[in-house]
């Protein structure tokens, strides 16, 4: 059915609601990229098969729904049961008949499939009670994991397009702008620019043709919130964009999606087709007289294309080279016409802001950073996954209460935020409330919301070098300070990790960093020194150890590190199995020995040792030992 009026939309909403209520019992199988990787599709199919085969859909009233990412990717495939609110983790397709038998028919819980809290080892049956979920407040991710992203009616039953209907029929474009301004929402893609201010400046630009774009490039490694939103609730992105277009008087939109996100493209395309069919997109939306079209453009795999001017060039079929900032894309953007570009999460929040009011959104968060923010919590943390929290939540709360603490209870060392433009935040700052200002003050950035937890087995010189190597590869090469500065810095870092560092290297790094910050054309080069400077600021002693002692305190840099097995080794052979060079000798149940000549210092043995009996020490000591 094509919706031609506000009343027809309300009727459709009611229908969708009824359809949803008609099936109160549901099995929600997470089918995000993470869970699909561990076999979620097979699990969902097995449930459908089992349920229909036994006629349970009619008898017990259970329906199976493939949803977007539940966020708790490491425990996947995840299966939730409604209305009980039970969550099973690591479900395998072959266990589905047993689950149907015991849980659906027998109404008993299978304890082995419940989530085990790594903190107290207790099993928790209820979704809502798991600390990972309990502490979240979801706005942009409101429907992810609850709806089937390929089913428009399901989305509508969960309030999709309600904000759009309200905007089109009850508000003028200026009132929409006022509401967004009241929300205080700032861009979720990196810099945190005020959304309403950006929109106003575009609206004030002369001309009739203007564009609304969505940045789904999500280039920061370690961040995947935009992927999950596009995959799990594509309608929220479309709804936000249509509302924005209405406020701005734009009729053409594009979504720029990373090439690495194939499922996101499929779900967005399907959502666009469905929305168009129902009159929610295209000509005369919901009979309001407003027209807006959205197209998808797949990126070509270049980090710099997340930058706004590079993205617009890429959309125009060119190489993604940024231009100087003094030309504002709100005035001269895509095809040199006024353009608004916002991040996926920014757009996903707009529908909820219009539906619930700007004041509601502004009631969450801190003074200057309103609302909630999505983060991907990854790295050496027990509960990895996707979370959304009010701005101002402390890092400690995120890492320890939600993340369950550091993997294997190793000591915490740092958390990296903001991707390659961000920095590493040390333990002293764990009580930092996370918002745009506080992260910048700490020498990092909000960026795309990636939070990578690092333990004592992480070398900060290596981390800084990692980002430099990343950026050297990704620099578009247009401006000299970025292109050459990165190359020179990387050369110094290569020397550091190979034990060829010199006194004065730190100062040289700092000089180069200052030059890049001042002279680079775009933010890629300007912010490239952040990982370097923040590690220098908080972990200077590690640099000094590399330079002066030719030692890597974390035991990561291979040229500087040797391994040895301690006498408490119980000879379990776990290390001999993983050693790529077969350099560990020893009978079973007897002390093992590493042949230093053949050892390539990869650390595979240390990672698997169950008794923690392998230790690292500086390679220079090895030479000393041999002399003796």
């Amino acid at each position: 059915m094509r919706i031609e009026s506000f009343d027809q939309f309300k009727t459709l909403q009611a229908e969708a609601g009824k359809r949803d209520e008609a099936q109160p019992k549901k099995i929600l199988v997470c089918c995000g990229t993470g869970c699909l990787a561990t076999g979620a599709k097979e699990v969902a199919e097995a449930f459908v098969h089992e349920i229909t085969e036994r006629g349970l859909d009619v008898e017990v009233g259970y329906g199976v729904k493939s949803t977007g990412c539940h966020g708790f990717c490491e425990r996947g495939p995840l299966v939730a049961f409604l209305p009980e609110g039970l969550l099973y983790t690591k479900v395998k397709a072959k266990r589905v008949p047993e689950i149907v038998e015991k849980t659906i028919i027998g109404e008993t819980i299978i304890p082995g499939l419940l989530y085990k809290n790594p903190v107290d080892k207790k099993r928790i049956p209820a979704y809502e009670e798991i600390p990972f979920y309990k502490n979240q407040v979801r706005v942009a991710m409101r429907n992810i994991g609850r709806i089937d992203p390929t089913d428009l009616m399901d989305a509508i039953a969960h309030d999709a397009y309600a904000g759009l209907a309200k905007a089109l029929f009850e508000m003028t474009p200026d009132e929409v702008l006022d509401e967004v301004e009241l929300s205080g929402q700032r861009g979720r893609g990196g810099a945190g620019f005020n959304t309403a201010r950006k929109w106003r400046s575009c609206k004030a630009a002369p001309g009739d043709r203007r564009f609304v774009l969505c940045n789904g490039d999500e280039g920061d490694p370690g961040a995947f919130k935009d992927r999950s939103i596009m995959e799990g609730d594509p309608h929220s992105v479309l709804e936000g964009m249509i509302i924005g277009a209405y406020a701005l008087g734009s009729h053409e939109g594009w979504i720029y999606v990373r090439d690495e996100y194939p499922l996101a493209v499929v779900h967005l395309q399907l959502a666009i087709t469905e929305a168009r069919k129902h009159g929610l997109l295209g000509e005369n939306i919901m009979g309001s007289g407003f027209d807006f079209e959205i197209q998808i453009s797949r990126g070509g795999g270049a980090f710099v294309c997340g930058e706004s001017s590079a993205l617009m060039r890429s959309l125009a079929g060119q190489t993604g080279e940024p231009r100087a900032k003094y030309v504002h894309s709100t005035e001269k953007g895509l095809f040199d016409l006024p353009t608004v570009l916002n991040n996926v999460e920014t757009w996903a929040g707009i529908g909820a802001i219009i539906a619930n009011g700007g004041a509601w959104f502004a009631s969450m968060g801190t003074e200057k950073s309103k609302g909630t923010k999505a983060f991907s919590l990854v790295g050496k943390v027990k509960n990895t996954g996707l979370i959304e929290l009010p701005m101002g939540t402390t890092l400690r709360h995120i890492i320890y209460d939600i993340g369950g603490g550091v993997l294997k209870d190793r000591p915490f060392k740092a958390v990296q935020t903001g991707g390659p433009s961000g920095g590493c935040i040390p333990e002293e700052l764990l009580d930092l409330p996370v918002d745009y200002e506080k992260l910048t003050e700490a020498g990092s950035m909000m960026g795309s919301g990636g939070m990578i937890v690092m333990d004592d087995r992480t070398c900060m010189v290596d981390v800084a070098r990692y980002f430099l190597a990343f950026l050297t590869e990704e620099s578009c090469g247009k401006c000299v300070p970025c292109r050459e500065g990165l190359k020179q810095m990387l050369a110094i870092y290569d020397a550091l990790i190979e034990g060829r560092g010199n006194v004065g290297d730190i100062e040289r790094i700092e000089t180069l960093a200052a030059g890049m910050q001042l002279g680079s054309l775009c933010e890629l080069g300007k912010s490239a020194p952040n990982p370097v400077l923040s590690t220098l600021k908080y972990f200077r002693s590690e640099y000094e150890a590399h330079i002066v002692d030719h030692a890597c305190p974390a035991g990561i840099c291979r040229d500087l590190t040797a391994f040895e097995i301690m006498p408490d080794c119980d000879g379990c052979h776990a290390c001999t199995k993983v050693c790529p060079t077969d350099c560990i000798a020893g009978e079973k149940k007897e002390l093992h020995v590493i042949d230093h000549e053949a050892c390539i210092s990869c650390g595979a043995c240390l990672d698997v040792c169950p008794t923690d009996s392998i230790r690292t020490f500086p390679k220079v000591e090895l030479a000393a030992k041999e002399v003796v």
């Binding site: 699909l36 708790f72 490491e74 280039g219 920061d220 797949r298 991907s376």
Partner: protein, 160 residues
């Protein structure tokens, strides 16, 4: 570049027919071409430049700028090892080394029999399961060098 045999251009014509013949279509066309041929053959680029009315130099500049494109034939199965931050600190480097030992090729290289191409990518958005490796279409989370044989064979279920 080595002399390449002429390729069948009919697929190219089909792709070109489905896009407006203007510069903004360039990247989308190249992506489809890449999917169809598994790389960007030289004579196809010439044809694309002509039909879209874009200078050939520009087509080459775009083809070499983006990571998604390769001007050399690719292996039948593409192995992508994620080198994103989360994967890096959880030992992704060891996966590339193991591949080198098993297949005799490093990153961005193709085996001589055109069976495998190994690529490193910066985050595939599955960071919670780091380190991640994709063999063909199959994602492997918490990938371990010791299980490489299995990943390459493409079978078997993940262990916990």
């Amino acid at each position: 570049m080595a002399e390449q045999p002429c390729v069948d251009l009919s697929k190219t014509e089909e792709i070109l027919a489905s896009y407006p013949h203007e510069e903004p279509s360039l990247i989308q066309v190249l992506q489809d071409v890449h999917r169809a041929y598994n790389y960007l053959p030289c004579d196809v680029l010439v044809r694309v430049a002509m039909v879209l009315d874009v200078p050939l130099a520009k087509v080459f500049s775009v083809s070499t700028f983006y990571k998604a494109f390769s001007l050399e034939p690719q292996g039948e199965t593409i192995i992508k090892v994620c080198m994103g931050t989360a994967c890096h600190i959880r030992g992704a480097g060891q996966l590339v080394e193991e591949l080198e030992r098993k297949l005799g090729i490093g990153a961005e290289e193709t085996t001589e029999d055109l069976q495998f191409t190994v690529k490193t990518v910066n985050c595939v958005g599955a960071c919670a399961m780091a380190p991640v490796m994709i063999v063909g279409e199959k994602y492997w989370g918490s990938a371990k060098p010791a299980r490489m044989e299995k990943y390459l064979a493409g079978g078997g279920e993940d262990e916990d």
